[in-house]
């Protein structure tokens, strides 16, 4: 019986979609536009999160300068202490000689390197911290360590890190907020579109109810029609986004070169999943709400 009812609902939804093609297409276009906006939001969010991840990787590394007179055993001891700290993922000791070699290897330091007499650079401990918000704590720990160079303890730029953290959380919040608005708007659009379709079919619904159809028997075809509408819209939105994704990233990169935005083909799979699931859910929910008033027995 469930199979027969499902078959009836699928047939009915399919017929209704094509019979009320104008209304159906209006719904598809509306949801497509909403999903394009949502998709752009996801793509931009993903691109910026990649950029931010890049910055995070840079600023989550802190260099602790070691004072020249610090015994090597003290340095190793502190290195050991840092290695066992759960907040730290990696610690590397760079000797004065290695630091100088690194400095000289950098092409931008060629002129300066020629003028250097002896080795004015400090040995350093390069520490990678797992969580960006823990960098400040590691910096404080380093500054309290007796072996640190008191004139230039670390390369930690607290303000920059804090701003990065703030920007990243604001961007995340804005993305979620925008998505929430898009979800509400699209549910309202689908609901009203389905309500129009339901209004056209109110006589059929009345007959269904009078001959003993259950609420779900009446509602089923509309919910399936909503899912169909949502999936078709998601497919259109996805196609347009996939076509526009790479050219848009290329254009952005050529216009605003200092933000290292990148094209990530692997993200298309998760975008497709999100849009299709989102479209189907929006369609189903919009229909469920839109049809509620008419199907109530």
């Amino acid at each position: 019986m469930i199979y027969r009812n499902l078959k009836f609902a699928l047939n009915s939804a399919w017929q209704s979609f094509w019979r009320n093609l104008a209304v159906s297409m209006a719904a598809v276009v509306s949801i497509t536009l909403i999903l394009i906006l949502a998709g752009v939001n996801l793509l931009v969010g993903h691109a910026f999160s990649q950029v931010i991840d890049g910055f995070r990787a840079k600023v989550s590394e802190i260099s602790i300068n070691v004072a020249d007179d610090t015994p090597l055993s003290t340095v190793y001891e502190f290195q050991q202490q840092l290695s066992t700290d759960p907040r730290v993922t990696h610690v590397r000791f760079v000797t004065k000689e290695q630091a100088l070699a690194q400095f000289k290897a950098d092409p931008s330091n060629v002129v300066l390197a020629q003028q250097i007499d002896g080795n004015p650079l400090d040995a350093k401990l390069e520490v990678r911290v797992a969580n960006l918000s823990d960098v400040a704590a590691i910096d404080t720990l380093a500054r309290r360590w007796p072996g640190v160079d008191p004139t230039d303890p670390t390369n930690y730029q607290g303000d920059f890190v804090n701003r990065m953290l703030e920007l990243s959380s604001w961007l995340g919040l804005a993305g979620v907020g925008l998505l929430a608005i898009l979800v509400v708007v699209s549910i309202v659009i689908v609901m009203n579109t389905i309500r129009t379709a339901v209004y056209h079919r109110r006589k059929e619904i009345e007959v269904m109810k009078l001959v003993g159809a259950t609420e779900w028997f009446v509602r089923g075809p509309f919910v399936i029609e909503g899912v169909m509408t949502g999936l078709i819209a998601a497919a259109f939105a996805l196609a347009l986004l996939v076509i526009a994704y790479q050219p848009a990233v290329d254009r952005f990169r050529s216009d605003i070169a200092f933000i290292p935005l990148s094209y990530d083909p692997s993200f298309v799979v998760s975008l497709a999943r999100d849009l299709l699931v989102g479209g189907a859910l929006l369609g189903a929910l919009g229909s469920y709400i839109g049809v509620r008033r008419y199907v109530k027995l």
């Binding site: 017929q15 007959v207 269904m208 009078l210 001959v211 003993g212 259950t214 028997f217």
Partner: protein, 247 residues
């Protein structure tokens, strides 16, 4: 004075002190008491706005009584849960003045629709629809659309749909209201045949000629009350017998 006929058979429908007041304050029914035994054929008559349609709406549970109780086959309609309603309506055959056919479906599909909502299998649907269309004399028109049928034929389709699930009783609201006298008479013959097979029929009507010719039970509703309940009645109690003859 309200008369309640003393039938031997068990009641299918029973109204006990039923009142219906709409949210607008209109009192559509006032203290209605009515018993319809199994196999009965009841005409509900009365002027427009008397309360006939409200009575029908209460019977199909489109409305609930404001006061009093309605029992159908021992079940109190007012206390029936929403989820039980579809099962109740499957026991009832409904026929309306405006036919309520679905224009996009063929005659076959319209009749089959009443079985599809019950989740019946296609073999059973095919056999039952054929039988119902045969009963109403529409064999061979199963692939026609309602728009291509006359009013009388459309009402036959509606009756076939009401019959197809073999209901225990039929509720008809002005089934001949849109039909010419000859067609109306044909439709009435159908209802009589259905009744003769054992189904209880409750019919709200304005068709004086038919009521007077058939001399079945007549329940007259006036100003929301049962004004008269005659076992073998006429449309108006005080009018002479009509001169119109059936064709």
């Amino acid at each position: 004075m309200v008369l309640t006929p003393d039938f031997d058979t068990r009641p299918v429908i029973s109204f006990q002190h039923v009142w219906k007041t709409y949210p607008t304050g209109t009192e559509a029914l006032r203290d209605v008491n009515l018993v319809v035994p199994e196999g009965d054929f009841v005409f509900l008559v009365g002027p427009s706005g008397a309360g006939k349609s409200t009575l029908v709406r209460l019977l199909i549970r489109e409305e609930k009584p404001s006061k009093g109780k309605i029992f159908v086959e021992g079940v109190e309609l007012g206390r029936m849960k929403r989820r039980q309603l579809p099962h109740y309506r499957r026991k009832v055959g409904l026929v309306f003045q405006d036919f309520k056919l679905l224009p996009n479906l063929t005659i076959y599909e319209n009749v089959a629709f009443a079985l599809r909502v019950h989740g019946e299998d296609e073999t059973k649907i095919h056999a039952r629809v054929g039988e119902a269309l045969d009963t109403v004399g529409l064999t061979g028109k199963d692939q026609t659309y309602p728009a291509n049928l006359s009013g009388g034929e459309q009402q036959r389709v509606a009756i076939a749909r009401a019959l197809v699930h073999a209901p225990r009783f039929i509720i008809a609201d002005e089934p001949t209201g849109n039909l010419d006298p000859a067609t109306a008479w044909e439709i009435m013959q159908l209802f009589l045949r259905i009744n003769a097979r054992g189904a209880t029929v409750v019919m709200a009507t304005h068709n004086r000629e038919i009521v007077d010719l058939l001399r079945r039970r007549v329940v007259a509703i006036d100003a929301g009350q049962v004004a008269r309940d005659d076992r073998s009645g006429r449309y108006h109690d005080d009018l002479p017998k009509p001169q119109i003859r059936a064709q």
